[in-house]
Amino acid sequence: MSAEADTLLAARGLGHGFGAIRALVDVGLDLWPGEVLAVVGESGSGKTTLLNVLSGRMQPESGVVWYRDPAGALHDVYQMSRPALRALHRSDWGFVHQNPRDNLRMRVSAGGNVGERLMAQGARNYASIRAEAIDWLTQVEIDADRVDDMPHTFSGGMLQRLQIARTLVTKPRLVFMDEPTGGLDVSVQARLLDLIRTLVARLHIAVVLVTHDLSVSRLLADRIVVMQRGRVVETGLTDQVLDDPQHPYTQLLVSSVLQA
């Protein structure tokens, strides 16, 4: 087993079960810098387990995940020490949850939520932390005069944008996203999709995106991985997989979507 040259993240032979249910069966994948990879499949197909395993939040029964640091060195994610993995999650990696409340600190101001990640990286100058927090709020289209407001005064869409600001402020190279538009009104989803797409392209961030919504994957992802019962059944260019699906399960998924 080996990782291909210049991959940012590589997984081989991932396997995991919950009791009798196989959540991951011999899953492997590669991710390159700046690439957006969507993992699609129905509930229970193993896509969220895959996200947790790739990000080192959960150790699988078998398999390996390598991560390439900015200096070019490969790290076996499961061999990293806890503090090293936590440091990685605070700096070079980010995780966007479906429910922003799982990531945000609801008793800390909006600006504090963004600035906290900078302080965790060692930033100490209050004025510059605040300035950068305000800059990021503006980038995610939250008015600068909301910087001192508490997150509980924000709408669902604003909370999700605040989570994205909090995640991207450290300029991560790799972001894991779990149904980032999942709990939102349709009208809010479109704006958030455009925001994610624009920021990811401009900052050249690699993304592993879990979604059950094929149209979200079409608009955001370069490549797609289709999972069924813990296995990767098809992978390829997003529009090719969606417009010319090869595997019976992918054909079923694509043909089951209502045309809007």
Binding site: W32, E35, A190, R191, L193, D194, R197, R218, L219, D222, R223, G236, L237, D239, Q240, D243, D244, Q246, H247, P248, Q251, L252, S255
Partner: protein, 235 residues
């Protein structure tokens, strides 16, 4: 076919495509067989053939939107030859960004993004302010007035959406352009504007493959026809 000098920009060798419909009991629909096509810089090849013959399937296969079953699809890209049929997905992403442009029949975009940004985001290698300026001039040329340019195209007419799509396809200045019915929902004035754009692209050395149902358009832009013939059902 050479990577830099003369010769075609795009060549297919023995290209074949069969659809297998697993939900229909594995029904096999052969559409393309032994497609051998050369397209040179500055040349426009029109795909001809009856409805259902596979013209769109061929065009989509050239773009990598459909997966070729057999054969090769060679394009000159960044001074090398790339086979779209066997290239890694991320290589195809690069080919599409810099070499291979595609104008589809229908606009499919993130909702609520203004037309001018949809077009500007397709520009390559220039600052965004400049991309917006160029987008505005393409849209204006295509008779999308300034007051519409800042609106998302969801509420536009079919013809207006198609013109946004054309602006998006042409702003990238790709050396190869694939055009799927670029004038289908346009009136005569706008059709003539698109004919002018295609001719200019040819003069600039762009290699073009297109489907043009409108005979007047086909005659005024195509250098030759490539006949796509329906295959006998071999299921």
């Amino acid at each position: 076919m050479s990577a830099d000098g003369n010769g075609p920009m795009l060549r297919t060798e023995g290209l074949a495509k069969t659809f297998t419909l697993h939900l229909q009991g594995g029904l096999r629909l052969p559409v393309l067989r032994r497609v051998d096509l050369d397209v040179h810089p500055g040349e426009c090849v029109a795909l001809a053939g009856p409805s259902g013959a596979g013209k769109s399937t061929l065009l989509r296969s050239l773009y990598g939107n459909y997966r070729a079953e057999a054969g090769r699809i060679l394009v000159r890209h960044d001074g090398a030859i790339v086979d779209i049929a066997s290239a890694l997905p991320r290589t195809v992403v690069g080919v599409r960004a810099r070499t291979l442009g595609y104008v589809s029949q229908f606009l499919r975009v993130v909702p609520r993004v203004p037309a001018i940004d949809i077009v500007a985001q397709a520009a390559r290698g220039i600052p965004y302010d400049e991309a917006r300026t160029r987008a505005a001039s393409w849209l204006t040329r295509l008779n999308i007035p300034a007051r519409l340019q800042n609106l998302p195209p969801a509420t536009f007419s079919g013809g207006e959406q198609q013109r946004v799509n054309l602006a998006r396809g042409f702003i990238g200045c790709h050396p190869i352009l694939l055009l799927d019915e670029p004038t289908a929902s346009l009136d005569n004035d706008n059709r003539d504007i698109v004919i002018g754009m295609i001719r200019e692209a040819k003069e600039a050395g762009v290699a073009i493959v297109g489907i043009f149902h409108d005979a007047a358009v086909r005659e005024s832009v195509a250098d030759r026809l490539y006949h796509v013939t329906p295959l006998q059902d071999a299921a």
